[in-house]
């Protein structure tokens, strides 16, 4: 399955690994923050409604 | 406007801040470089134009936050904003005052420091000319950065981060003029580009700085 990368295997693999890690990190950070803010906002809105 | 200019210069000189500090910083940079790269005269002669330009740039950066910070703290910036002077004019005058108290002394001191770095004879003329042409751009661009960060408590570091990338073209062309001059090469192209950047920055950036100040004073 794995293609033969020859003598440049290290370069190719590390660039794929690094890029995928960076992208995954960015996506994860975006999603986690989105979920947290969404939840907090819901809480505040509910409170605002019951108060007034 | 003239009154504002005189007042700003007087404040800068009296406070002892920008005036002497920038020059001393420049001197220290120039003195430290040989310690870092070794005392070979040939090597120093090669890197002298770049080091002198970089030192001048950093010394200029050092006093940028003073352009607006003091006036912001004591409220005189609000007064100036309500005065009949246009904001663009105020910004330009303040940049001019900064140049007269920081840029001009650096230009005058640069040849002296050039001796320390073994700058080739042919380079002095071009070094002075390039700094004379380039440092006004540094002050004007710096005034823009100072206007952006004027209301912030820890604005100094952010100011450097914002202003340094904006200094790239000026530094490249300025140092290129000095380097080519020192090596006895043609300098016309970078010299014209440097002059173009300075003129463009002086003509257009005060509008941006004024807009920024208006937002900050809102």
């Amino acid at each position: 399955m794995m293609p033969d990368l020859g003598k440049y295997a290290e370069a190719v693999l590390s660039s794929y690994a690094l890029s995928i890690m960076l992208i995954a990190g960015l996506v994860a950070v975006s999603l986690i923050r989105a979920r947290r803010v969404r939840k907090e906002l819901q809480g505040i809105e509910r409170k605002a409604k019951t108060n007034g | 406007m003239r009154a504002l200019l005189i007042r700003d210069i007087r404040l800068a000189v009296r406070a002892g801040g920008g005036f002497g500090l920038g020059l001393s910083f420049f001197l220290i940079v120039v003195v430290l470089v040989p310690f870092g790269v070794g005392p070979q005269n040939a090597l120093l002669a090669r890197i002298a134009p770049g080091i002198l330009w970089l030192g001048a740039l950093l010394a200029c950066l050092l006093s940028l936050d003073r352009i607006f910070a003091l006036d912001w703290e004591d409220g005189s910036l609000d007064l100036l904003a309500t005065s009949p002077l246009p904001m663009e004019g105020i910004v330009s005058i303040k940049a001019l005052a900064h140049w007269l108290t920081t840029g001009l002394p650096l230009v005058l001191a640069a040849p002296l420091f050039g001796v320390l770095l073994n700058l080739p004879e042919a380079g002095y003329k071009w070094l002075i000319l390039s700094l004379l042409l380039g440092t006004p751009a540094l002050s004007v661009i710096g005034a823009f950065g100072a206007a952006l960060t004027v209301g912030l408590k820890r604005g100094g570091l952010l100011l450097s981060l914002l202003v340094l990338p904006l200094y790239v073209p000026t530094l490249i062309f300025g140092a290129e003029v000095a380097r080519r001059g020192a090596e006895g090469l043609q300098v016309a192209t970078p010299l014209l580009m440097l002059a173009g950047i300075t003129c463009g920055a002086m003509a257009l950036l005060p509008f941006a700085s004024a807009a920024v100040l208006r937002v900050n004073l809102r």
């Binding site: 293609p3 960076l22 992208i23 803010v37 | 209301g151």
Partner: protein
């Protein structure tokens, strides 16, 4: 104090994006997976570059998005300055970190590719240098957003910084070109200067580019939604404090 009506438009934005995001995200995943798997497993080695040619499927799309993200921020900043749509300012804010990461990927993959090919991790080549400068611009822009507390002030100042920064970034590009002629290949779609890129590489590259564009859109939509919610939260909290 801003009125609650101000959020009518952002509300619609959130509703619309919430509706289309799942489909868009799936599409992005499919395009990225297809493009990268195709590029990694199914392309032959180049006769000169060997297997390092596979890095192109990450390097070129990320470099493309690094520049386009800044362009999008520029357009969004202009819209904010002229029309004062809050969504636009927040979209610019949301795009900046994505652009930063894209620039990082482009720089890193470039360095890893350059090591075996040019024999050095880093060269002060015009393109590399311009990207490094672009990276600094992203850093400054993000730092300015983070430093200012008032939302509208931050939006105004960063928008102006984006405009001025764009002019200077362009100037730097020419200055750097003048300063060093460089060894980077020309047009990004020809891997070797003079030779056109072969279809076997071009097709997966196009898929990857589409994947990166979609990824950028999805991330910006998600992050803009988050920014809108965070802003609304701050307004509500401030109102509560005033009422209490």
């Amino acid at each position: 104090m801003s009125s609650i009506w101000e959020y009518a438009n952002p509300k619609k934005f959130i509703e619309t994006t919430d509706r289309i995001l799942p489909a868009l995200a799936v599409l992005t995943g499919v395009a990225l997976l297809l493009g990268l798997i195709w590029g990694f497993f199914l392309t032959p080695d180049d006769f000169r570059q060997g297997s390092t040619v596979k890095i192109v499927f990450l390097h070129v799309p990320s470099a493309l998005m690094a520049i386009n993200a800044w362009l999008m921020m520029l357009v969004a900043s202009l819209i904010w300055i002229v029309r004062r749509h809050h969504v636009s300012a927040l979209a610019a804010r949301a795009a900046a970190p994505v652009g930063l990461v894209m620039t990082m990927i482009a720089l890193l993959t470039g360095a890893i590719w350059g090591q075996p090919m040019w024999g050095t991790w880093w060269a002060w080549d015009p393109r590399l240098t311009s990207f490094l400068i672009l990276f600094l611009f992203y850093l400054g822009y993000i730092a300015l957003w983070a430093a200012i507390e008032n939302d509208d002030t931050a939006a105004d100042l960063t928008a102006i910084l984006c405009l001025v920064g764009s002019v200077f970034a362009l100037l730097s590009r020419y200055a750097v070109n003048f300063w060093n002629q460089g060894l980077h290949q020309g047009a990004s779609l020809s891997v070797k200067s003079g030779e056109r890129m072969d279809m076997t590489y071009k097709l997966p590259l196009y898929v990857c580019m589409a994947g990166f564009v979609l990824l950028f859109v999805v991330l910006v939509l998600i992050r803009t939604g988050t920014e809108i919610r965070a802003r609304r939260m701050r307004v509500l909290l401030a109102r509560e404090r005033m009422g209490a």
